[in-house]
Symmetry: C2
Subunit: 197 residues, 2 copies
């Protein structure tokens, strides 16, 4: 990540994260972020439409994921394609420590948490056609994407908190956990859809 | 649903849906919705904070779901608790035809689609503590919720389009589909997290 360390966009992202951490997202202005990054306020808007976007430069991650899905072995089932793509992409664009602090700041701000939700849906939206080109039906593509995003969400906090792990490994563990959650338990299956006592 | 058919809130919801369908969400004003419902504009704001909210009166659904989870047999696994709660709640508050038209209007408007996403996250947020009170850990509670919402999203369009089905039945089918998607396929498991060719 040598370019990100020194370029203006990276400086703005790190300045924003510092300020969001110390004084909160709501109380931070674009002028402050630009100032802390040694830039004019005007320059901020060359990179981001507003301060909500400064932690969500998802374009490069999204493009990387789509390329990964498109390059995957045609015989690989969609679940494995997505687990591989997501499990290896994170950490490619930003240092893990930055991502950990970013996750905390997002969790502390409802406005940022909403943005995060929408950004994930955008990523799913972008990946669905890539799955469909592999012959997966549109509804199933969206279903597998939703489930893999749930797996990703389960694995991410542990990966961020445990430096000796890989995200791919923790996503595989979350997948195994999900298999157990879904294992039919003899007396309950018949109850689905019936009345509660 | 006798009350909803005749009360002011129900009239506003139906008027909004009609207008969103015929002229689009963006081009519809609060004054038009209120007028079509035979009410003053001021009255609209007694029920909804803005026009984005008129199709998302989720409070009653959320309370119903939480109550269902709390009333469920303590021995029932979280997946079954949620499948039962969600599978039987929909259609309790609004007619299926209204929900079908509503789903189309939401899909056609990015602003409404964002609102829908956030509303679903709010429902998950409200249900998580109810699962935790059953002894499920917070991270797993959120995971099972995310997965059940994915199952719900897979089942919902089919339920809306196929009048002879129950949502519970289609959610059970989507759950079975997910078990298949997750079934380990011998040559691929080892590849998760490895490089693509």
């Amino acid at each position: 990540m040598p370019r990100w360390e020194s370029d203006a966009q990276g400086r703005l992202e790190r300045a924003a994260l510092d300020l969001f951490e110390t004084q909160g997202f709501e109380r931070t202005s674009v002028a402050q972020i630009a100032g802390a990054a040694g830039l004019k306020e005007r320059s901020f808007y060359r990179y981001f439409p507003d301060k909500r976007e400064v932690l969500f430069t998802g374009g490069e991650l999204e493009a990387h994921l789509v390329a990964q899905v498109e390059a995957a072995d045609p015989g690989l089932p969609p679940l494995d394609v997505l687990l591989t793509a997501l499990g290896t992409a994170e950490g490619t664009f930003r240092p893990r420590d930055f991502l950990l602090r970013r996750a905390r700041v997002i969790a502390a701000s409802p406005a940022l948490a909403e943005r995060d939700l929408i950004k994930l849906a955008d990523i799913a939206e972008a990946l669905a056609p890539a799955l469909e080109r592999r012959g997966v039906g549109p509804a199933q593509a969206r279903f597998v994407l939703d489930v893999v995003l749930a797996i990703h969400r389960r694995a991410m906090p542990r990966w961020l908190a445990e430096p000796d792990t890989t995200l791919a490994q923790l996503m595989a563990e979350a997948t195994a956990e999900l298999r157990e959650v879904l294992a039919p338990s003899a007396p309950t299956v018949g109850r689905v859809g019936r009345d509660q006592p």
